[in-house]
Structure formats: structure tokens, C-alpha cells
Symmetry: C2
Subunit: 721 residues, 2 copies
Amino acid sequence: MATRAAAERKSAERRQSARGLEHLTIECVSPELDGARFPVKRVVGDVVEVGADIFKEGHDLLAARLLFQAPGDVEWRTAPMVFDYDTDRWYAAFTVDRIGRWFFTVEAWTDVFSTWRSGLRKKVDAGQDVNLELLEGSAMIRQAVRRAKFGPARAALLQAAAALEDEAELSQTVRVQRALDDELPALMAEYFAPRDLTRYRRELPITVDRERAAFAAWYEFFPRSSGPAGRHGTFDTAAEQLQRIADLGFDVVYLPPIHPIGRTFRKGKNNTLKPEPDDVGSPWAIGNEHGGHTAIEPALGTIDDFDRFVRRANALGLEVALDYALQCSPDHPWVTEHPDWFNIRPDGSIAYAENPPKKYQDIYPLNFWCDDREGLWNACRDVFLFWISHGVRTFRVDNPHTKAFAFWEWCIDDIQRQHPDVIFFAEAFTRPKRMKGLAKLGFTMSYTYFTWKNTGLELREYVEELAQTPTAEYYRGNFFANTPDILNEYLVHGGRAAFRVRLLLAGTLLPLYGIYSGFELTENVPVRPGSEEYLDSEKYQIKWRDYDAPGNINDDVRRLNQIRHSEPALQLHRNVTFHPSDNEEILFYRKAAQGATAADRARRVLIERLTRLDARVLTASAPRGGPGANGGAPVEPPFPPALLAPSPPTGHDLLIVVNLDPHRPQDTMVSVPIDEMGIGEDEPYVVHDLLTGARYTWRGRRNYVRLDPRTQVGHVLRVER
Amino acid sequence: MATRAAAERKSAERRQSARGLEHLTIECVSPELDGARFPVKRVVGDVVEVGADIFKEGHDLLAARLLFQAPGDVEWRTAPMVFDYDTDRWYAAFTVDRIGRWFFTVEAWTDVFSTWRSGLRKKVDAGQDVNLELLEGSAMIRQAVRRAKFGPARAALLQAAAALEDEAELSQTVRVQRALDDELPALMAEYFAPRDLTRYRRELPITVDRERAAFAAWYEFFPRSSGPAGRHGTFDTAAEQLQRIADLGFDVVYLPPIHPIGRTFRKGKNNTLKPEPDDVGSPWAIGNEHGGHTAIEPALGTIDDFDRFVRRANALGLEVALDYALQCSPDHPWVTEHPDWFNIRPDGSIAYAENPPKKYQDIYPLNFWCDDREGLWNACRDVFLFWISHGVRTFRVDNPHTKAFAFWEWCIDDIQRQHPDVIFFAEAFTRPKRMKGLAKLGFTMSYTYFTWKNTGLELREYVEELAQTPTAEYYRGNFFANTPDILNEYLVHGGRAAFRVRLLLAGTLLPLYGIYSGFELTENVPVRPGSEEYLDSEKYQIKWRDYDAPGNINDDVRRLNQIRHSEPALQLHRNVTFHPSDNEEILFYRKAAQGATAADRARRVLIERLTRLDARVLTASAPRGGPGANGGAPVEPPFPPALLAPSPPTGHDLLIVVNLDPHRPQDTMVSVPIDEMGIGEDEPYVVHDLLTGARYTWRGRRNYVRLDPRTQVGHVLRVER
């Protein structure tokens, strides 16, 4: 029976801890990810919209407020919540004006005074005697007086209480007038402490990043390929590429690993196991006698050269992203200094990477759960800190899904606490749940399956998942159109038009996209038929290029990046919707102007209605903390209603049409969502092709499009009215 | 800066507490309600299916198990989980064989030994030397030996380790054979302690009720109306009704309040404010000089009479449900004994109920947050305990949404801890979120909007919400077809056929339904046109009835309740699906045999495939607790795979057709979901109308139905093959 009693005790404790006595129910608070286990993501300047279901027994009027805390804040700030009858839900909004980790939660309470006033009014209208009600009101006001210690508020409250009580001198009509006085609610909201203040049981985190975390065009290139033909490039020759890259309109230049490259089992050209003596090896086999993850491959230059490269990039408005590849060549200093950080085999050797029966003898994986876990994790973290101290703020993380997830969560958090501006880009190509898991635990942005989504249906389904499902709260896809590892067969077989199609899709479907150099030269020869590997892959050898070679698509790249910078609609990720096209080879989608989606409009209508209907709800929504069950939280004056209303649409709606067939002209009728765009049934409107400058006058829903891949693969149509 | 540092500390703590170092990720565990804040509901004997997303870095094989705990258990029991590649998810199942509060959670770990074996096999197949691998294997086996202290397991492990190490005497081929030995995995699963055992961070509760909580036909009647004409009924005369009610096939008889009725502001007939001296008043105005919620209205008899009534009902297989209405008449003993439990007005009077400007002076609401909260809550709880001590196990709770939600959560939990067989039925007619909130916090079953859902579309949408959304996890709707408060206009205008239609819908759409007496006599006169109140409502006066009066639908009731008891498909709530009917006046739905839904079939296929494919996954799934991060949990031997497989379908599929038009014959073609039912395109099948005994041979999808409301309002077709 002892065990039975113990079980009952434990069960009771579990129930108790899950419960607590909550006066009001607060649930379904949004945005919330996995029960607040992980933060949702926003960028600085975003308006965060918060929703909550709030109720209690009976018919009392309720009030609620949002509590939010910026990074470094000690106190909560507050904003009033407004109630929407149709959805039976409360809403508020606040602007995240600083990067870092924010928190928010919700409080609610019974608006006792407003409930009383509402009842009083109805009773008076029905001609009932309300003497007792007036005395009840004055009792509430006298409670408020106790907390209004000084000044005109105290005086006004005292006067009101006295008037409501003054049966002898004042008529009931006059006393009722005083009770229904316009100024009382605000005073009572400020000084009357709710007895049932209830706080939502969780504090919900938000990671607020800088803008580049959500909107950027990336350009990947190997600095060692930047030299004059026949020579190993250096940071100085790489710096000479920066003007070209900046002119193409990119925001980020990403360099594959720049560290000393292992010699043992070095890979030869085209991934052969027998290298020539002058083969440069794969930069992802990191470490040799010159150092490891914090050293520079001597052929590229020195750390000073690197610093100069970074300064030059920054001066051109380019940000430098480094590769972070947590694996070691057999020649990495850690192998001798910390063999315990690796897996030791029975013969004392260190285990190389393998995927049986394949062996990767040039790579030693780290053992993230070794006995010196702390030492190893700190060292891995310090690699980031080293490059951060050299001006790097963005890291493309190689294969994070092959390293301990707990390590990433700890490491990203640890770094962002000191450096909230650091961006982590997960290069994980694995099953969706693991890719999402990495994004949840902290990766700022993520590679995607984009290269393998080539039909209209595939693109639509995938982009809708990234933009319109809860995934959009935390997973920022970066649509790389190619990588040194991925040359998709669509590019192999589609020729130059295919590159233009994929560029246009990558750069307009989502605000983050990238290319790996050579894409603009339409390089598309695989190492063998059916392979996604490039022939003479730059991973294993230097590749000297003429970036003005005939057939390049530099003009397309430059124009696209210009448009992305000038059109706010291309800088958002949740504003894409697909619309019917009669020809499945032609994809048709809208990028809505900021604030121009159906949800944006509904929100504006809701908030306008509420602020108009009942200003009291807003002003009454911020009592000083009281002796309620949840204790008193310090409160600032309520925010003005203006803060709640998202700004009206900015920028223009874009309609984008892409011919997915790189071989043949295609035409179709497209169905423009004029209802959502506020355009009348027969109203003409001008669509302005930002790619060519051409203007067309369209009318109504259905309009005709024809695209010949030899001349133009798509339209980016700005809707002008 | 001090505040900034404090904020950072706090923020770090918050992050820390949310994190912990988890070796594996375990998420999206189901069934889970609001992040385990509330229990999901099941009935005894149910197979609970558990799912979880589980992953970690890299390519290792994983293993997982379900931990579950019955009420009173101190230790966890375990069941293996199986992996489904298509959904990238793990599954397990366990049977809840006892009522009360269960808990479950999930553990996962790396199956190091199986990963090693799989690699070994591939290397051997590729002709690689595996000497080091064999030594690694023997090292693992020797680790297991340390925990296998005695007996044949220890001997077998020692022998295997020695063989793997024996380079001198054994050929590598022989050593590999020993390593791939069929018996090793089971031994290693039992004795090799995982180093990364990870437990899901929540323990998920399940409320397991007895069967009546999910399947019952309710009959409501006023015992005071059971007397001979002109006389106040008693428990003895009420007991005489029990045989009739049992013969009609009901499972529960529910009595409106049986307590002394208040005298102050007693309501007269038809809810008038001026009662005649002999008016009996509303039984929901509880309490007078004879007592309150634990007393019996003297006109009905004594507590002994009540006990006898309960015994008589039970002997007939009927359960007695009492009304629990937490409100007091001004004459209730609590008003004088505990005036502090009510709201006191400035003149010292107790506040009556009101909905301004309406006054309900016959009712004093309780103040659930009064200073003597504990005293009041205990007293309210003790009312339940009193009736429980008199054999009552089911309570219909009047207007729970007007009492503190925190009270209900505490009270239901407190009672069910001692009496897990007690059923609480929430009579809340309010907005959906509040109704659902009451179900979440503990109410066993709930009233619904059924009476107002009369068109096919309304019925379909509503039933799909209750049966096919997450709501089905916790909200058990009881489809009362009428109540003393609700006479829907469909009944007013539809005549006898309307009653037959609504009876058939109520009793077949969901497994819980009820009627209030008079329904079977098709009573349908409202107090005034457009009102949902009955004329001469039994709430305010006695109503003597002839239950065999012409026009009764006793035969329909009796037949329906018989079918409900004989057909398992009518005893489930998640197995209803709607199917096309060409005429919107005819509703067509299927109640699938237990285990015959599409989900049931998918599950069987999954589990069959997995158990066939890889028996090792199952046997390897239950290691003894080890020194892993989460400590060792005691483990029972893995359940046999048979437990995982839901039993094959039991009972028959039912196809139900109802003519919603009570006035005119209607006919239609219905579309039978033969694909889901495993019937071939042109295969004939017999449908047996359980209402009439008629048999029809149908073929393929589309079949013809005609229903004339004067004779037959619907079919309940048992599909017989």
C-alpha cells in the first residue's frame, strides 16, 4: 500500500502542477511554436500580432492585455488587447524594434467597473431604482482611491464616490449621471485593481533578427578560383571580384571554407582517390600543419588579407558569409591535441567518416558526446567567436544534421546572446522533420528542396508549405538555384532559358535566394549523365572563369536584384499566393504589397471597428497590478490605438508569370485575383513589366499571356492604378 | 547595468529551462491536448494509439518505446514503438484496462548495436576487412556482460564476445557469423544500456472512463409528474415508471433536482411571477426550511425512498443521474448559515441573479471567489459525495458555464481521484470555446447544439467537428433531442414524423443521446409562437401523462435502442462519415464497424508491414534503463507484436439514410463508399434494414432510396456479405 500511496501522491502533484487556480481561461495564444518550446522568428521592425482565447464563467465584461519584453528589459511592457466577437478571440500587436530574444504573454481580468456601469445603464433605462447599485459603484471607487495617493486623480475619484453616495443632496438622476461620467472609466482602469488578474502560464519567445536574415540575395564563389588563369587565387584577387558581384546586385558573398586543407587521403580532381601532387583538395577537409578552423589556407593569404577582403566587401555593401564545417581532416591540429574529441577505435586509431560500405578517410567526425563534451563544444563555439571578431556575421553551416542537435541549440543561443546579429544558415538536405527541427532550434535560415521542384505543381505545393503553413513561423527557406553539389537535370537539359527560369523563380518566390558562381554563365555539364555533380567540380580543383563569356545571364541577374530591392513585395515571405493559369507550363502567382493580403485587410477592419465601437475597451485595458492571484505587474500607460493598426499597404502588388518550359513558347489565360486586390469586375488596370519596361492594360479576371523562352521566360508585372 | 544583467540572467534561465540537453529530439507526441495541459478521454478497453516524431543527427538506427502508467501504478510499463518510413513517425499502442487517470510518455535512444551490425553486414558484403569492427562489437558485448550478472544470458554474451575477439583461432568469416547471430540482438537489447536515452519532456494524461461515459441512451423525467392524475408524484410512483423506461431500452434515467424548492419569489405556472398557493415551483430553485442540496423535497419522499428508487432502477439495468444545480433559493440553509458565500450588497442583502434589466429574485448565485473559498468549494464538493454515498454515479450539471471554471477543474479531479467511475455531464449552452473549455477541464460529456442543427449541411458540419477533429479527443457530445428548455421549431412544425427523424438522427449519429419525457408522445406546443419554451412547462407545474397515448413513437424508441445495443458501430463516436446523396433533404452516412475505418486499415497495414520487415525493431525496443542522461526506468519485457495490432473489424458497417423532410416523400441516389468498405465495383451486397427487417440487394456505388415520412423516415442498413 505504500507504493499505492506514493503513486497517488505523485499523481496528485502532477495534476496540481498542471493546474493552479486560474480565475480566467487563457489559451490558444499565438504565435506559439510547440507549446513555447521554441521561438518563432521575426525581423526587426515587424509588427507581431498576438491572439488569445480568453473566457470565464458568466457574462461579465473582460479585459486583457499583452505583456512583452525586449532583449535586456527587466519589466514587461504592455499593450491593450481588443476583442473580436466573430472569432471570439482577443488581439493585440506590438513592434519588435530591436534584435534579440523577445518574450510575450497575456494577462486578463474581469472588467468589474465596466460590467457594473453596463448593468447600471440598462437598469436605469428600464426605470428601476438603482440606489444600491450607486452605493456599490462608490464602494469600488473608494477602493481605487486607496491606490491613487495624490493629485487630481485622487481628487476626482473622491468627488465621484461622494456624489454617488449623496442620497441626501443629489437626485438619483444626477448621481447616475456622475456614475456614467465619461472620465470615470479611465481613472478606474488605472487605479482599480482587478481581483482576478490571470496570466497565461507560458512566456512565449520570439527571435528577432536583422533584415538580412529574411531578405538577401546570396552569391557563392571559391576565392581560390579568382586568380589569373593558372594561378591560385588569393583574398586580394577575390576582392577584385567584389565590384562585379556588387554590380550584379547581390547582398551576401559566401565563401566555401578558407582554412588549411588536409593532405592525408586528399581527394583528386573529380573526387578521385588518387590526387596529383598539385591538386588543391576539397576545402571541406579542414586542417593541416598550418592550423584548423581558425587558420587560413596559406595559398589564400593571411588573416590580415582576409580582414581587408571583408572591409572591401562591406564598403561595397556586401556582407561576407563563411562556411562552418565541423569536421576535421586527419591532419587537423585537434586530432593530435584532442584525440578524445573523436571516436577511437580498438587499435587506437581515430574513426574516419563512413556510410558503409563507403569510406570517407579524409574526414574525421567529431564525437559530440565525448567525455570532454564541454571542452569540445566550447572549442566549436569559439571558432564562431573567432570569425565574429574578424567581422563575420553570417555563417553557412555545412551538414548540421550530422552533428548533435543539442549542440546547435546551445551554441546558437550562446552566441546570439552576445551577438544577436549573427545569422546561421543550415545546409541540411535530409528528411523534412529534421530540416524543420534545425530551424526550430535556432538556425536563422535553411536550404530547401527548391532545386528539385521544377513543375508548377511541385513549386506551388512547396512554396505554399513554406509561406502559408505554421512552418512559415520559423523556417526561412533560402532558394539556392544551384550549389557546388547540385546541378539539377532541369538545368542540364534546359539550356540557357532554364537558368533564366530558375533564377526568376528563386528570386521572386521567396525573399532569400542564392546562386553559386557559374550559374550566371549557365554552366551545366555533369560529371556523367544523370549525375547532379558538376564535371571538373570546383570542390576539387580551381576553375578559372570569364564572367563575361557569351551566353551569360548577367543582365537577368542584375535586373532581378534591382527589382527585388525596389519592390517591397519581394522582400516578404508570407505574401505569395498562386492563381489559376490554363496552361500548366505557365506558373502564375501574386506577391502582395505589404499589408495587402486578405488577412491584412481583415485585421484592419477588425481593429478599426473595435477602436471606433468602444474606446473604453482600449483605455480600460491597463490596470495597475493588484492583489490578484497572479500578483501585480508594473504597467505603462496603454499604447495609443494607432499602434494596433498595421500601416496601410506599402509598395505595389506584383503579378508574376513564368513559362516553366525552357524549350517552347507557351501561352495561357491567367486568372487575376481582382477581388482580393480590390479591382472591379470590368475595371482596366495597367500592369508594368519590370523586366522589360513594357506596359499592358488588363481588364477583369482573365488575361492573356504568351512567353517565348528564346526572348522572355517571364513577366514581373507591377500593378499600377 | 544591474537591471540589464538581471534581465540577461533571467533570460538565460528561461532559455535553459526550456532546453536541457536532449540527445534525441522527440516531438509531436499524440494524443496530446494543449501541450498536455488537459487529458484526452478514452473508455476502458480502448486501445490508445501513440505517435511521435523522433530523430537525431546522422544515420544511426534508433529505437523507441512507449512508457505508460495506469492509475495507482508506481512504475512505468513499456511497449515497443515501431517506425513508419512513409510518415517518418513512430507508433505504439496500449490498452487502457482500468478507469482513472493514466499517463504516458515516450523514450528513444540510439540502437548502437543494430547500427553496428548493419554496417558490419554491408562491409562484409563489400569484401572489406572487418577485424576492427569485430573488436568494436565485442567491446559492446562486454559492456552488456557487466549488466547480465547471472545465468545463460551472461554465458551467451561472454561466449559471443570471446568469439568476436578470437583472431588467433577463428577465421574472420566465422567471427562474422557469430556477430550476425540471430540471438545476439535480443540479448543486447536487454542488457546493453543506451548512453543517450532521451525522454519526452512531458507526461501526457488520459482520463479513462467507464463505458457508459461514451455510450448511453438517456431518459429525463420529473418524478413529481409520476403520480396518479392530480397527485404529486413520489419516488415510489416514479419507480413504477422504471419498468416502462427499461422496456424502451434506455440506459440512464435523469431526474431534475429532487431537493426542497424555494418559496420566496417562487415561479408560477408558465414562468409567471405570481404563483398560486398550490404551485410547486421550479425544482432548480433549490432549498427551503427542509434543507438544501443534500435534502429531499418532502413531497417526493425520504432519502430511504430515494435509495429504494435507485436500487429498483439498478435492478432493471438503469442508472440514475441526478441534477447538480449550484444555486440557491433565498430560503436555502446556506443563505443563513454562510451568507459570506454569496454576494452581499451595501444594504446587507444578498444579491439575487440578474441579467440587467432582468431580475431572477428566486435565485442567489454563489460567490466562488469569496473569502471562504475553501469552505464553499468543499461544501459544493461534499454535495456530490453525499449523493455518491447514496449510489449515484452520474450527474447532469446545470449551467456549469456560470460557475468558476477553476472550481470545476478542482472538484471533478478531487472526486474522480476517489471515484473514477463518476460521470459529469455539462449542460452548458454558450459559445463553442467555453463549452469546449469545460470538456477539457474534466466534464465527461456535454450537451450540444444538436437541437438547432436541422438541415443536412448543418448536421454534417457539426457532427464532423465532433467526430473528426481534435475536438473528438475530449468532447463527448450527448445528442439530447429535446429538453424542458428546448422545443425546437422543427418539432413544432414537423409533427410526428419530425420526432421520428430527430430520434433516429440523435440515436445513430453519436453513441450518446437522450430525450426528455413527452418526446415519445410528440408533445410540441410552445408557450407562444416562436418560443422554444413548452406550454405549461413541466419546470413550473406537474404534468400527468398517458405514455400510451395515440401517436406515441414508443416503438421507434424501443427499436432504436435495441439496435444501438446490438450494433457495435453505434457505440463509437469517431466512426461516422457522410456520403453524397443527390437530394439534400436526404442525409446519408456510414457508421463503420469497429476497426473498419480507413485509418484503422492504414494502421493495420503499417504494423503488419513493420512486424514482418524487421522483427528486430520490436525486440530491440526495450533496453533496461541505463546510465543515460535521463536515468534508468524499470522495464518489462517487450509486449508481443500482437498487442500493437488493433483487432480486425468487429460488428457490421451500417449505412444510414434519413429523410429530413417530415412533410413529403423524398427519393435520391446515394453514393455508397464501397472503396472504403472493400466492396468491388460491381459486387452485389445485401443491406438489411434493422428498423423494418427488409433486405435489399445493392450493387456498386450508386443506389436508389425513397422514404415516405408517413411510414418510414429512414433506414438503418446493416451491410451483410
